[in-house]
Amino acid sequence: MIDLEPSEIVIGTARKHWFIFVVEIFFILAAAVIPLLIVFFFADTLEQFVLEPLKIKNLDQSLLLFGYWLWLLILWIVMALIWTDYYLDVWYLTNQRIIAVEQRGLFHRKISTFRLEMIQDTTIEIPGILATLIGYGNLQIQTAGQNEKFTIRGVNRPQRVNEIITREYHRAREALREVRIAADNSTEKSEWK
């Protein structure tokens, strides 16, 4: 969970597009189906090139099923990892800052925060025809801090996310300007006393 400051509220969240998740899952599904295709369509080839050289005769059907269910269990665990990476990779936009959470596997998690008024410029990249049609892209934010660049890849509706961030950036700058003017005025008054 993300710890927010007392006056801080979450305005929105930005996640990767569902298409990114679906593409990764497609490979898992392919890996699940390929053993079945091999057994059904290439049984003769399998016997000739794998079973005969290994001197295996009359392969037990329950052993094949055992191997297949075990393979599916492994794939299911990999899928859970992909889901965790997809779901917990998120940017929180608050009224004060952006909190970028990057999940890399189960044990590697990186949380970066930067204040909205630190933003210098933003870049949107739409990489290709699929990204254009489906509506995802990469959003890069350059800040004045030590970690200069923050990137979220494959984010859903990057233009919309960028609009909201820019709007909140202007609001934060305006609020900061008002605080500075008020501070300057109070300093001037105390100097005249």
Partner: protein
């Protein structure tokens, strides 16, 4: 089954799955807000996992299990 190797593989897989599941559940409970999608994801994960473990168990030879682990 001709040997007890599948049973040994099964127990190694169960230990691996259990460790992964505990870490996985910790992540979801700790890092994500407990909303409907996260609870649903946890439920789907465990229902499918337990079904697959049941299917694996169904292919194993229980007589062999007793002969290996209880010398019967």
């Amino acid at each position: 089954m001709v040997s007890g190797i599948p049973w040994i593989i099964f127990f190694v897989a169960i230990i691996g799955w259990s460790i992964f599941s505990v870490v996985f559940l910790f992540h979801w409970r700790h890092y994500s807000r407990q909303s409907k999608p996260t609870i649903l994801a946890e439920m789907i994960y465990f229902v499918v996992s337990i079904t697959l473990i049941g299917l694996i168990l169904n292919t194993l030879n229980w007589k062999e299990f007793y002969s290996i682990f209880f010398n019967q």
